[in-house]
Every structure is written in C-alpha cells, then in structure tokens.
Symmetry: C2
C-alpha cells in the first residue's frame, strides 16, 4: 500500500470568528478517523518560530517598522515550513495551521496598507511552490466578531480605540473575501455566525478530499 501524502489545511478569519475552537474540533474528528494531526499556528509553530512570535508581539520601546514586521512574519514562516509543516505533510500527517500567508495579505496588506507586491516578493522567496491544500475562511461581519470578542474578554463593548479599528477589520475581512473569490478551488468560506456545532459541521464538510489509497 502506498502511503497517502498528508494535507496542509489553514484556518483564517477575523477576531471572534472562532478559529481556535474550530481548529481543535477539526483535529479531534480527524484523529478519530485515524489520521495523524499536527496542530500549529503562525507566527510560531517551532522553537525559533515561537522566539520570533515573542519579538513580534512583545511591547517594546523600539518602534516596529512595518517592513520589519513583515520580514519577521516570513522568517518565522520559512523555519516553520522547513522544520515542521513540510516534514509532517511528507510523512502523511494532516497539518492544521491557525493562520498562514493569507493572514499576511489580509492584516499587513489589506489592514495596514503594505503593498501587495512586497508580500508577493516574499512568497516567491519563502514558499514559491507551496500553497495550502485547503483554506477554511471563517467569515463573520466585523461587528458580530467584535461583540463575540467582548463577550469572551468580559468587557462591555468597543471603546474609542476599538471603534477606530472597525475600518481596519473591515479591510481585513474584504481582503480575505477577495482572495477566496479569486481561488475558489483552495478556499472554503464558512459562515461563522452559527453556533459552534453548526460551524463545526460546515468546517467538516469543507475538508479536502482524501484520495483513494492505491492497492498494492
């Protein structure tokens, strides 16, 4: 029997879309089907990737230029791909990854206005031939996502700072939807507005096909 190549599945979506919950649910049912699952995230995923995540997220008196942030994201991605994602897929595992390059286009590109051509150039350097086999986009109107995030964080509602950020998240969402529209073979848009069970069913339906194993 030949061993089926694994799958690389990414989960994308804005704040409050339920990525964390849904990626864990997906891992659970794949494991129950006897599939080796590797759950990972970006930025991060490996020892060096997590070091870089810390630098990306920490508060620091030294301002972070946009280009520095962008390059650190892709540096973390390069080591994540070489040392975790590619070996796992090669041995037949399904890698479920919380955010990937689409998030860079959505947040750094759509949200912050970094030129798409710069991101394209980095894709050519870091993963010219690797795309996710499937990208599950958990989509939710920005207001609904923010309300959920507030519920989770136990706060009343958006403060002034967050209200100003609505525009930012609208651009992020639009960029995700535009990318999904341009690559329907890879993307599945899942309405993240239902309850956890409903969304989990839709996510499950959006999994990539498993090829029939070749008989020996």
């Amino acid at each position: 029997m030949s061993i089926a190549r694994g799958r690389f599945v990414t989960f994308e979506g804005g704040e409050g879309a339920g990525k964390t919950t849904q990626i864990q649910r997906a891992a659970q049912w794949l494991r129950e089907s006897g599939i080796e699952v590797v759950l990972t995230r970006e930025p991060g995923g490996t020892s060096r990737g997590e070091q870089l995540r810390k630098i990306l997220l920490e508060r620091n008196e030294e301002p972070m230029p946009q280009s520095c942030e962008l390059l650190l994201m892709f540096a973390a991605r390069a080591t994540h791909l070489a040392n975790l994602i590619e070996p796992a897929v090669a041995r037949g595992a399904w890698v479920l990854c919380d955010r990937f390059t689409d998030a860079t286009y959505a947040y750094q590109g759509g949200g912050r206005g970094i030129p798409t051509g710069d991101i394209d150039a980095l894709v050519q350097i870091v993963h010219p031939h690797r795309q996710p086999d499937r990208t599950v986009l958990l989509d939710l109107p920005v207001a609904a996502g923010m309300a959920r995030a507030h519920l989770r964080n136990g706060t009343d509602g958006p403060d002034r700072f967050e209200s100003e950020r609505v525009d930012f998240f609208e651009r992020v969402r639009q960029c995700y939807l535009d990318r999904a529209a341009r690559d329907p073979a890879r993307f599945r848009i899942v309405d993240a507005g239902g309850d956890v069970e409903q969304v989990a069913v839709a996510v499950r339906a959006s999994r990539p096909a498993v090829p029939a194993r070749t008989a020996t």
Copy 2:
C-alpha cells in the same frame, strides 16, 4: 548656519581584514574633529536588532533555512535603519557601521548562492532609497586574512573544515570586489595588507567629503 546632514559610512571586508580596529580608529579621529560619531554594527545596533543577531548566531537544533537567515538579516536592518541610522544621520551625526547590505550580497549571495534577485527584492522593501554615502572595503587575499584570524585566535592553521571554506571566502571576496567595481563613486577599496597605521591612513583618505557649511 544650517546643520550639515550627517554621513552613513559602512565598513566591509572578509575575515582578518581588520574592520573592528579600523572602524574604531576612524571613530576616534572623527570625534577629535568635533563630529558626533555613532558606531554600530549589523546584524544588531538596536535592542531588537541585537535580539535578532542572537537568533541568527546561536547554535540551535532547529536548522536555519537560508531564506529565514536572509529575512532575519533584513528585518534587523529595517529596525536598525528606522530607529538608529536614519535619526542619527538626520541630526548630523556620522554613522560608522560594521557591515551592511553589501555583506548580505557577499556572504548570503556570493558565498551561499542565494539568488541576487531575492536580495534585490528585499532591498526594495527595506531601503529602496537609502545607500551608504561611502563604503570602505578592506580587501585582503583570503589566505592572508585566514592567517591573521588564526594568529588572533591562537591556533596553528586552518583545519580541514576551514580549508574547505577557502572557496567560500574566495566567492565572498570576489563579490565584494565586483560590487566595488560597479559603484566606484560609493566604494573605496583599501589594501588591508599593511600594518594598522598604514591602513588607518588609507581609510582616512577614503572618507566622504564634508560639504562646506552654508553661511547664514
């Protein structure tokens, strides 16, 4: 009186070329001339830059993909430029920097064979409009540089591993010389084979011109 814009001067060269000694000598005589000097290095120079330098140089069980190394170099460069080099030059200081982008072309490009087009793309993202005002290339035949490095490190001579690296350093040197030949207005090639005083005199002669200050 208008304040003269500062200068950005980079020092390049292979192993044993004497960069560290010469950059300190240059800083000394510039300071004696009443110029504010900022001595810095790459990768590094700022708090975040030094964090990234540590990640670049540390031994780690996780292999470092070439693309990761390249992006970390330019990420460090982005924060170094924005938070140290550009503000210093803007206030009139002379920034003397131990290695810069030419080193990336020489070591990652010439030495390791990373495509020059990848490095060009990162230059376009990180510093499309910024070049050093002057680059001092301390040039030395590879064998002479390695002999000096051994003297400094108190070892007998090149071991097997280092002998294999002679080819690498030859490619690095050739890349530096090629870049200098293509941009003679920016580069000064200094023969690093003489004694410290001789080289210091040649470095001094290669400093960029200081424009006459405009009288008010």
